[in-house]
């Protein structure tokens, strides 16, 4: 095992203004919502005030991952359209009062969101919370644009699979110069990596070349915690919970050892290079 | 006689639509049917990658719609299946507004003249990409995993698809029988009960899938394995045959006895 040092990330916060971070990926199902929920809890556990925004209009899931689905009465569109005040729409978390959720609308469409109003809402929330974390939907269309508009930091979540890497690569391109995205590699299976049946973190980052924020191994426990609506970062021990707490610490600027990565003997690097070099742009 | 036009959709991303489309299409081709797979995920194409055909892309669906080439020119024949399996790739650098629903439906119609089965690999979500993908279909396969978010999204999609009067069939993907046994994962019965959809397949979680995707080789091309059998069964059910579902939970008599005691 050797360590990959992440590049230092500038802290963009100005006094009394919280940080707005979008969690995105392009590919669906890689763990954006799970990451948003757990990162939110990990930051809240440090005493920060955290607001989570579910930007997946029409297919909301952040509420159910947090176990708050029965408490959601209003959603982002209600606020953007002036039907309710922001305060009324925020759902306080069951386990940690530092954490609130602004849910997505379940029965509306993404194109009903006014991009400029969304941006203004995130700005407004930054004045109240240390962290505003936006859970981006899959894809790169309007939902993505609306999720990204209010943020000035981005975290991309990638699983060690060719499709996911390709999609993240596209997303990083679309995020443009405004962001210096950091990478979380999710659902790593070290045993498969050793057998050469899964890309390693190095393989992934050889293509993406992003500062590595964290590595999370695949754990059946995640399914169980989602079943119960009790995010795993509520725990203090265990590999996955610790990984999220370490990520939170890095985000907060603590001096935390870099995420450890597994080296692998047989590299997919060559093949990956061929895929990305040879594919039609 | 026009082929069947089946959209493979889910709502939730990452549950296995593309893998299912690729493997089911490949299985049907192996069984002698002409199959065309259409990647409807414009901007984030992956069907080509999963089949290992990414280097052979010359034209994509947007170029067909814009009249820059014929459909036949854009279709990539997968040589591993003789003349029987082709894919129509998505465009990578455009977005989903590049095609209207009518245009998409027209492409699917043309493809159905050339094949017995046309599968449309739908993007995640329920926006324009989804609307395009279902525009050309006359049947739907919903893919879900036995997890809370996936099922919720599948429910939404089933609603949207039945509004269009498409018959719906369900594939439960990535089942982990050992987790079902310990009560840590919803069972297939649970999923079917919640979604009230007709089940057409149950695919167990298998680490080989990742490896085969990396290599661009559909798992059904490999040697005899569990998944190959499963996709065969799904193909046969699609063809109209009544095929019993594999019991992944089969632990023999002693296991069943223990199960009875636990259930009380």
């Amino acid at each position: 095992m050797h360590e990959v040092q992440p590049e230092p990330v500038p802290v963009t916060q100005t006094p009394k203004r919280g940080r707005a971070i979008v969690i995105t990926s392009g590919k669906g199902g890689v763990g954006k919502t799970t990451t948003t929920a757990n990162l939110g809890h990990a930051l809240a556990a440090r005493g920060c005030s955290v607001a989570l925004i579910d930007a997946d209009v029409g297919l909301r899931n952040l509420d159910i991952v947090l176990g708050l689905e029965s408490r959601v009465k209003h959603h982002v569109l209600d606020v953007l359209e002036g039907k309710v005040e922001l305060e009324e729409a925020l759902v306080r978390d069951k386990h940690n009062e530092n954490l609130v959720l602004l849910a997505a609308a379940q029965t509306r469409e993404k194109d009903e969101v006014d991009t400029e109003k969304m941006k203004a809402l995130v700005e407004q929330m930054r004045e109240r919370f240390d962290y505003v974390i936006i859970d981006c939907p899959a894809g790169i269309e309007l939902g993505f644009k609306n999720a990204v508009i209010g943020a000035d930091e981005a975290i991309v979540v990638c699983t060690p699979e060719v499709s996911a890497v390709r999609d993240v690569d596209r997303v990083v391109g679309l995020l443009g110069n405004r962001f210096r995205p950091q990478l979380i590699v999710n659902r790593l299976r070290p045993a498969l990596v050793k057998k050469g049946k899964m890309l390693s973190v190095e393989d992934v980052n050889a293509i993406l070349r992003l500062p590595l924020l964290g590595v999370i191994a695949d754990e059946p426990e995640i399914i169980i915690t989602t079943n119960r609506g009790e995010p795993i970062a509520l725990r203090r021990d265990g590999a996955t919970a610790s990984a999220y707490h370490a990520i939170a610490a890095r985000i907060a600027g603590d001096d935390v050892p870099a995420p450890t990565v597994e080296t692998k003997e047989t590299s997919f690097f060559g093949k990956l290079g061929a895929i990305f070099g040879g594919s039609k742009a | 006689m026009s082929g069947r036009r089946i959209v493979v959709t889910s709502g939730k991303g990452g549950v296995g639509k593309t893998t299912t489309t690729a493997n089911l299409g490949a299985t049907l081709a192996k069984r002698g049917h002409r199959v065309i797979l259409i990647d409807a995920d414009i901007g984030l194409r992956n069907l080509d990658l999963v089949l290992g055909l990414e280097k052979r892309i010359v034209f994509d669906i947007v170029e067909v719609v814009e009249g820059r080439c014929q459909l036949r020119q854009a279709l990539i024949k997968d040589k591993r299946f003789g003349e029987l399996l082709s894919i129509l790739p998505a465009a990578q650098t455009r977005d989903k507004d590049a095609i209207t629903e009518e245009q998409f439906a027209e492409i699917v119609k043309q493809a159905a003249e050339l094949a017995d089965y046309v599968f449309i690999d739908c993007p995640a979500g329920i926006e324009a990409g989804f609307r395009n993908a279902i525009a050309g279909a006359d049947e739907a396969i919903i893919v879900t995993t036995p997890e809370v978010s996936a099922i919720r999204d599948a429910d939404r999609v089933i609603g949207k698809v039945t509004e269009k009067n498409l018959p719906v069939r369900l594939i439960v993907n990535r089942l982990r029988p050992e987790m079902v046994r310990t009560g840590d994962m919803l069972s297939v019965e649970d999923v079917c009960e919640i979604l009230s959809a007709e089940l057409i397949g149950v695919v167990p979680d298998d680490e080989e899938v990742i490896d085969t995707t990396n290599r661009g080789e559909p798992i059904v091309l490999g040697e005899a394995n569990k998944l190959k059998v499963v996709y065969e069964k799904i193909a046969r059910r699609l063809e109209g045959e009544l095929v019993p579902f594999t019991n992944f939970d089969n632990q023999g008599f002693f296991g069943r006895l223990l199960g009875v005691l636990k259930a009380g």
């Binding site: 159910i64 176990g67 689905e69 029965s70 408490r71 009465k73 379940q106 029965t107 399914i223 169980i224 915690t225 989602t226 079943n227 119960r228 609506g229 | 809370v148 099922i151 919720r152 429910d155 939404r156 609603g159 079902v180 310990t182 009560g183 840590d184 994962m185 919803l186 069972s187 649970d190 919640i194 636990k262 009380g264």
Partner: protein, 129 residues
């Protein structure tokens, strides 16, 4: 007895929890997807009540809320007068002053959101935010 024993020895699995949560959340999702059905249901409901008492239709509020493990419909129906010749119920025991009637499934009371009902007095505990 057997139920209690079973519950004691077999705590709820996460899949059972998940199934229950999904059942409730999908009910809520389906309700929000059928606004016309809900409007019709509200109209029918109000029509039935109005057969027995005179109601202030403009001030009626009907909502769905999740309470514990069930979904409940909560209705706040200001009653203006009781029709002396109304066909049903025990007319003699009804008071004539306007009051709000709360209709809910038989579940423990929960705090409700503050509503701007203009009913002069309420018989039930005051709704709270």
């Amino acid at each position: 007895m057997i139920d209690w024993v079973r519950k004691f020895f077999a705590p709820t699995t996460s899949s059972q929890t998940a199934k229950e949560r999904l059942r409730l959340v999908l009910m809520t999702d389906h309700l929000s997807l059928a606004p016309e059905m809900i409007e019709q249901m509200k109209r029918d409901f109000i029509d039935v009540i109005a057969k027995y008492v005179e109601v202030d239709r403009d001030k009626i509020e009907i909502n769905f809320e999740q309470q514990d493990k069930a979904l409940a419909m909560l209705a706040n129906v200001p009653i203006l007068a009781v029709n002396r010749n109304s066909g049903g119920g025990d007319g003699g025991s009804k008071k004539e002053e306007p009051k709000a009637t709360e209709v809910a499934n038989a579940l423990p009371r929960r705090k409700r959101r503050k509503k701007s009902t203009v009913a002069p007095s309420t018989a039930s505990p005051a709704p709270a935010g």
